[in-house]
Symmetry: C2
């Protein structure tokens, strides 16, 4: 279904590869999803900020590791080298440093840009929304971190996307693990990037990349392989704290203790049913320094989306069931922008909204209920000719009273075509003007669904419309 629709709405090439328009129906769905997410962010007391779509190129340099090649640059048209933002986290850190802000809880919903291979049927575009929530400030361990996971839990529950899991790990555990497995210090980040591919590649292929491309010893790779197959809860963290190899790393122990603390807070929030401590979770970005997490859909809706992708695009695209949220702690990023290197610890989460949109769209597509794209309460219509002026006068009164109303832009529209328009657009009421009604000082109010008609005096019209449509 998605394939056919995509072809229909994009018949000739007038757009950049990997971008799309949102039509009114898609926007109505998008608005609903955004409202759910914003409501959650506001419930947790977040303020919001906005930053420009482009930043100085140097602001983005050295923040994204191997992904930096995907940054869109602007043409040098005089003086400044500019790039489109790649995420909302780096601009946030730049904002904090620039304004010397040491404490803030903010959300930011905006588009970001990546010159990636688009997989549009799976909701992967070169221009896409991110919905970020971050807490900056020097606080006691794991309290804000736990709130971020609570937020993911609330949003995914409320959006009703089916079952999900939130995987949790810690960069310090990964680094400690790399150290005790014999990975040289200067290879931590690149090996970490390879581990990150475990959600899309088999362990065999990941190992091959480590050994053949990254030059890691087979022995070290095998030891990593053992650890990254581990999943559990607080108990796994406790076990690893006793692990003879892992416990040799101070870093790993710090990470493991924090995972224990995190699980304790998550228990108080009653969300541990969905949270898994998973040592294979690595996250691609360079800037994480502590806890990291990622939410994945595990069931029905996700699978159907994957199947659909398989029909439409190449099979490769449907391997991963898809992350719908991710984030972590990045305590060093703000300091990179401060002339004196002052640190502002941060933790945050980004909701993968595009994937959620495509699932919601498929749901809407499958539902018998029509998505309304306007909230119009009434159409001002006429039953006879030459009543344009009377229609305009009445609709002006309605607008001034705050009623959402439409009128057809024709001097003499047919009554039938006015009624048909209402049926198509889902407008529930019609105010019908005719010579007789004007003489009597009334309006014929027609209920579109039932075809019931009643005469209402002009004085009562507005309250009657409100009564019938603002339930």
């Amino acid at each position: 279904i998605v394939c056919i629709r995509t072809r229909q709405t994009q018949p000739f090439n007038f757009m950049s590869h990997g971008t799309r328009d949102y039509n009114p129906k898609q926007m109505a769905i998008r608005e609903k999803v955004f409202n759910t997410i914003i409501r959650c962010f506001k419930r947790h007391g977040a303020e919001t900020i906005d930053t420009p779509v482009f930043e100085l190129k140097e602001t983005l340099t050295g923040k994204y590791g191997e992904d930096s090649k995907l940054i869109y640059d602007l043409k040098d048209q005089g003086g400044e080298l500019l790039s489109l933002r790649y995420d909302l986290t780096v601009p946030f850190a730049r904002y904090l440093a620039m304004n010397k802000i040491t404490n803030i809880k903010r959300y930011h919903i905006a588009k970001v840009y990546r010159r990636d291979n688009p997989a549009m049927t799976r909701g992967r575009y070169r221009e896409f929304y991110q919905c970020d929530f971050d807490i900056a400030g020097q606080y006691d361990a794991m309290i804000p971190d736990a709130e971020c996971l609570k937020i993911v839990h609330e949003i995914l529950n409320e959006l009703d996307l089916g079952d999900f899991r939130i995987k949790v790990n810690d960069r310090r555990i990964l680094d400690g693990m790399f150290a005790v497995c014999g990975v040289p210090d200067d290879k931590f980040r690149t090996i970490c990037s390879t581990v990150d591919k475990l959600d899309k590649m088999s362990w065999e292929d990941v190992k091959k990349e480590m050994v053949n491309e990254k030059g890691l010893s087979e022995e070290a790779a095998d030891q990593i392989g053992e650890y990254v197959s581990m999943q559990g809860g607080m108990d796994l963290a406790e076990r690893l704290l006793q692990d003879h190899k892992m416990s040799q790393s101070k870093q790993a122990c710090a990470g493991l203790s924090d995972i224990k603390l995190l699980f304790k807070y998550l228990q108080l929030f009653h969300v541990t049913d969905k949270v898994v401590f998973d040592l294979s979770l690595a996250r691609g970005l360079d800037y994480y320094t502590g806890v990291i997490y990622e939410a994945v859909l595990t069931q029905a809706s996700a699978v159907s989306a994957a199947n659909e992708a398989q029909n439409c695009a190449n099979a490769e695209e449907s391997v991963s069931v898809g992350s719908v949220a991710g984030g972590g702690r990045y305590d060093g990023l703000v300091g990179m922008f401060d002339p004196k290197g002052r640190r502002v610890p941060c933790v945050g989460v980004s909701i993968g909204i595009e994937r959620i949109f495509s699932i919601m769209e498929q749901k809407a597509e499958a539902s018998p209920e029509k998505v309304r794209t306007t909230e119009v309460q009434i159409m001002v219509a006429s039953a006879q000719k030459n009543l344009l002026e009377e229609r305009l006068q009445l609709i002006s009164e309605l607008w001034n009273a705050g009623i959402k109303a439409e009128v057809m832009y024709k001097k003499n529209p047919k009554l039938l075509s006015q009624l048909q328009y209402c049926e198509e657009a889902g407008i529930p009421l019609v105010a019908i003007l005719g010579e007789q009604e004007l003489k009597d000082g009334v309006v014929k109010l027609r209920v579109v669904a039932t075809r019931e008609e009643v005469d209402i005096s002009r004085a009562d019209l507005i309250s009657e419309i409100k009564r019938r449509t603002e339930a």
Copy 2:
């Protein structure tokens, strides 16, 4: 005041020239303005769409006349030549043609990009929002056009920015006027661009540009000068229809008849008090084909903004009092994107939101009332040590019940610092936990403003919070 604040928040150069961040306070104001505008657009039955921030360069080519040099291009990083959108109108026309849409009423609120000389104290940036409302479709003359002006009237009234005027003219009247004044056909557009500068330059300077730079005869310029000094209402349109020179132009007559019709509809909408037929209004863009309009603030708030600009930046910036909305009819634009040249007549209006923001910001600055940046209803606090777990448990219950709540991210925060936070953030209630309250199964509810404290049972807490904060 603005100057100082600008300097404080941007202490070192981490941002591109002519761009800015919005802080939480500015965002709260922005949200309020957007809500007013969106409410109006929805009242008039508009759907919304979204388009990408960049378009193929060729989509924008040849649409903006002399302003095309201000378009931001992206670097060629493989294949496509892309540009940042310059307005929302051209992408809208591209969208209609691509999807073969012949009827739509849509609004679009998004950022556009112009490599202009920024005048940031006056709210002029290189990245700025546009709020567009457009009606596409083959309809009877001037009905949708009149609705656009009604919308401008409603929005400017509701935003309460002080007195305003909406100037109206028609491209066909301008073209007819140019023809009867002896302007050569191939100079219509460039002379039109010069006339457009009348709101910023004196007639003498405009005339000089016409004669010296554009090569117009002095006689023709003088004749234009007579016409462009004319202002009036329906009566002026009637008089010009009798004008011996103007009436020789079929085009001018068509425009003048439509202005008459427009005024008739505006009378039905009761908005003629603010509308002036002004022959000096030209609008810069190439794509207009019929009626054009522009709203300007005429009083208090606008003047204060101009004065402020004068103190902060160079004097030149404060000459124009500033347009806050503009638009017109563009019947040829969609056809430029259709392979078969099929025309879709359009009329629309764009609200100059950035200027409105800066006025609203100054108002907020001057007001004794504090702008709240969150909607938090309650803080979950503790009076004694070692109650973090109890606080987390309680706030989790509140979040799950839809209450907007915050907790301090410290194991043992001082009660005083918790209360101070509430005063600063404007949080009206505090739920205070202590050993005794926990034993008694109650929460001490404190009203921040009055310092009143009452014990509320845990079972009644949520309804009590709602009762006190959701008035």
